[in-house]
Amino acid sequence: MSQYVLRRLMIAIPSLLGISLVLFVVLALAPGDPFSELATNPNVPPEVQQALRARFGLDDPIYLRYLHWLNAMLHGDWGFSFVSRMNVDTLILQRLPATLYVIGSAQILALLIAIPVGVYAATKPYSLFDQIANTLAFVGFSLPTFFTGILFILIFSVTLDWLPFVYTTDIKATGIHYVLEMIRQAIMPVAVLGLFQAASMTRFVRSAMLDVIRLDYVTTARAKGLGQANVIVKHVMRNAMIPVVTLIALQMPAVFGGAIVTEQIFRIPGIGSLLISSILSNDTPVVMAVTFVFACLVVLFNLIADVLYGWLDPRISLR
């Protein structure tokens, strides 16, 4: 097993390198010098500008520039944000927890909805429940997060006035009230993101279950008189989760997309809204770094999925 994890890690490294290469090429191909506006920006002292040019080796050959850049990224030397007036890595570390909190809770909510609904729908295919669940799932992933977000605000904040629609980090309360307020303000963003994901996950779970439910070994299990619930949980679900893990991992890039939108709508101070604001203020080092962080998160989640996959499927880990 540990060998398997190690091998997966070895596969993750080239994809990280590949992603960094893609990012760098995009940056290098971009017309104009992304740092040129620093020259005209009166806020930037000339010696900083000089240091920047030297560190990024803007006059070196391209592969050297890539290596320099990569080296700097690996050393946590992600540059300086002139807009926020702090180091990019500090800035990102400040913003990351809010993003992970929302994405993580949304993921849990999605699983809590998708697994029971998908499993139950698959045990009664084409029943009324299945058809309703299926249609709702379709509607769910056809509803773009920015529209659901707006609908939620319209309903729960504007009309009903139940929930706040602006997320804040300095809640003026302590103790239990602080926790409650934290939860209250996270409800809408988490619901928007979680429901969006639950929609596609439900379909994954259902179709994976249906694929497994027809297999011979499920008949074998039923022939043992184990009872419906036991057969479904122990024999069908256990196997159906294997492809679902991969599908969920493949879904991660879309989840981050949804997170950016949600953070923007509810003004959550995470790295998604940081990305948008730094694009709007031409803060290139931050834009690059946030994109890279998102890429790393995707690779990380893929790695986690691979490990889970190996843990769920004995045929993999024992090989």
């Binding site: 027809r214 070994y217 074998t220 043992k224 122990k234």
Partner: protein, 335 residues
């Protein structure tokens, strides 16, 4: 003594895109205690569906038991719910499936899979279940059973997996074992070993076996009685000797002629007398005898009236108008 299992007029239908598929259409099969009954017939004639209907293991929906009775030890299983049948599954009737490669759950160890039926049906602790499982694995001649019990199915060969399947089916010492083509997917040499093992186990535990196969050679070696199925119906039923000595239904005759003959020289050996044509479609089947399109002896009456299964000699039944004509003649002569 009352038979162990009596299937009467079983009809199992599937709803499909194109209409109702009558996979099993009025089948009668009787199995006595301790006997080996072979069910033969070519692919798609409804052998598996018949067997799976007994414990309602067919997919429902689209499958449905449309009519019939399945009486096991005096109790009709058809009206029972799946929950009620769970008490009979594995405990009273064990199943061995055709495909050892796909019939075991890939993510559970073989030990868990055998033990789970013991733990379901018999009041045993985890430890006792493990011991019994190892014992069963030894019984079906799995070398190093203590170690192998913790292995996953993919670590076994096809023949070994089928041994595991047999161990699983035998674990609760059922009164009837239904083996659905247990050797079709295996190498010829392994096939013989598995059949021997099955025979062995049967004698040791004194249970009845319903062996489904399309190999007439297997039938000749193992069966006491034989049921021949064609297109969802039983066309002939007899003791094995009677069937081979005096096959009455044209389809059975064809089947028997298709057995490779060892005693012929090599040139003839390769020329099996295959039955021309193939199984008719089971959606809206034609009236009359379903074998008629392929039958050498087909007469007008064959496409008009369905031949019914009747006794033609003690313990020998068949469904063919040919018999009718002969019987009719005999009856006429008697009068």
């Amino acid at each position: 003594m009352a038979p162990l299992l009596e299937i009467k007029g079983l009809k199992t239908h599937f709803s499909t895109d194109d209409g109702i598929l009558q996979a099993v259409d009025g089948v009668d099969i009787t199995i006595n205690r301790g006997e080996t009954l072979c069910v033969v017939g070519e692919s798609g004639c409804g052998k598996t569906v018949t067997a799976m209907s007994i414990l309602k293991l067919i997919a429902m929906p689209p499958g449905r038991i449309a009519a019939g009775e399945i009486i096991f030890e005096g109790r009709d299983l058809v009206p029972l719910t799946s929950n009620q049948l769970d008490e009979i599954r594995a405990k009273e009737i064990g199943f061995i499936f055709q495909e050892p490669m796909t019939s075991l759950n890939p993510v559970l160890t073989v030990g868990e899979q055998i033990a789970e039926s013991l733990r379901r049906h018999e009041n045993v602790t985890r430890k006792q279940a493990l011991e019994r499982t190892i014992e069963m694995l030894k019984l079906v001649q799995i070398p190093n059973a203590e170690g192998r019990v913790h292995n996953y199915p993919h670590q076994f060969s096809g023949g070994m997996r089928q041994r595991v399947m047999i161990a699983m089916a035998l674990a609760c010492k059922p009164k009837l074992i239904i083996a659905d083509e247990p050797t079709t997917a295996l190498d010829v040499t392994i096939q013989a070993q598995i059949l021997d093992l099955l025979q062995d186990m049967k004698e040791r535990f004194g249970m009845a076996v319903m062996l489904i196969t399309h190999a007439m050679g297997v039938v000749a070696e193992t069966a006491q009685r034989v049921v021949v199925m064609y297109a969802g119906k039983v066309v002939e039923e007899a003791d094995v000797d009677a069937l081979f000595a005096d096959p009455r239904h044209p389809y059975t005759q064809g089947l028997i002629r298709s057995i490779p003959r060892i005693d012929l020289d090599s040139e003839h050996k390769t020329r099996l007398e295959a039955i021309g044509g193939s199984v008719p479609i089971l959606i809206n089947p034609p009236v009359g005898c379903r074998f008629a399109p392929r039958c050498k002896f087909a007469m007008d009456v064959c496409t008009e009236k369905e031949p019914l299964l009747r006794q033609i000699a003690p313990g020998h039944r068949m469904a063919c108008h040919l018999g009718d004509v002969q019987l009719g003649d005999a009856a006429g002569a008697l009068a």
